[in-house]
Structures are given as C-alpha cells and as structure tokens.
C-alpha cells in the first residue's frame, strides 16, 4: 500500500462500508 485509496462518492463508499463492516473517514479539504 503506497497511498490511501481515496474515493470521491460517498454513496458508493457507504455501500462498500456496509459490505466490509467498516467506518468511513470523510475528509473535507481545500486544495489551495
């Protein structure tokens, strides 16, 4: 694992989280 696999869509992340019994880290950021 060389980096975090960031996702951009919360809904698909929720589906994955339910399947894998995991929590979600939601990072609000500003690229500037």
């Amino acid at each position: 694992m060389s980096q975090i696999n960031w996702r951009e869509d919360l809904n698909s992340a929720l589906t994955l989280a339910q399947r894998e019994h995991k929590n979600i880290l939601l990072d609000f950021h500003n690229p500037l």
Binding site: M1, N5, W6, L16, N23, D27
Partner: protein, 150 residues
C-alpha cells in the same frame, strides 16, 4: 494533511485496513452543507449508515491522527451498543498512544463502555481513578469527577 499525515506509512496502513476514505472539496456541494463544514481540514468519522460519530477540525500529525481515528471508531461502536468492541478499541488507543490528545477521552469512554456492559458502578469509580492518575488536568477528569460520589 496531504503533505505530512496522509503519506505516513502507518496512517496509510491503518486507513486502508480499517476505514473507507472519502475526500470532499470544501466548495463542492451538497456534502459540506449537509455536514455543516465551514473550515478545512475537517475530518468526520461516519458509520456505514452515514451517521456521524466523531469529528476534528484542523491539522493533525500522524501521532495524533491515528488515535483520533481510533477514538472515532470506538465511539461508533459505543453508539451502536457494541460495548465489547468499543472497549477493545479504546484500550488499543490507550496502549498504542498513551499520551495523545485523544487518550483522556478514550479513558473516559473505556470506563463508560465497561459500565454499560456490566452495570457495575465500580467501573465508573475506576474511571475517575484512572483519569485522576493519568490525565489529571484533562477536561475528561472533570467530567468524570462526579463518579467520586458514587
């Protein structure tokens, strides 16, 4: 966070093994408004139903980010009445990061989780003893101080 904490190997391993990571631009609606986020970085820990269980605002170095994430996972278990899993998570935080900024809160929730599981007031008395010994200046020692009267 992108320059320091997220490239850290321990952070990468923890996040990939324990969480689904989602990045949201602060100026991309509707999520910032839905979660009432005004400043970055804001990290929100959700369960798989999308309910919030913990959040932090501002930069966290790896040695504070990791216990903060453990705290959020533990609080998610606690909020779902999964007290044994919550205890294990808070205990792991205290063993691996005994001096972090999240540790006093973890000690508080560890004791409360044990009380919720056992219904023994002794667990609350142990909690204030733990906090007075290891985190006497913390806000969590104050919050638990009422248990001295049990």
């Amino acid at each position: 966070m992108d320059a320091v904490s997220y490239p850290n190997p321990k952070v990468i391993e923890f996040v990939e093994n324990n969480l689904i990571a989602v990045k949201v631009l602060i100026d991309s609606q509707p999520l910032p408004k839905k979660f009432r986020v005004q400043w970055t970085p804001t990290l929100v820990l959700l369960d798989a139903e999308g309910e919030e269980h913990n959040r932090t605002v501002g930069f966290l170095p790896p040695e504070e980010l990791l216990p903060s994430l453990l705290l959020g996972i533990g609080k998610s278990h606690f909020d779902h009445d999964e007290f044994d899993k919550a205890e294990n998570t808070f205990q792991r935080l205290l063993v691996e990061y005994p001096k972090s900024d999240s540790s006093a809160e973890a000690a508080y929730y560890l004791g409360v989780s044990r009380y919720k599981r056992t219904h023994s007031a002794e667990e609350l008395k142990k909690t204030i003893q733990h906090l007075k010994r290891d985190f006497p200046q913390s806000e969590w020692a104050k919050r638990a101080s009422v248990y001295q009267m049990l």
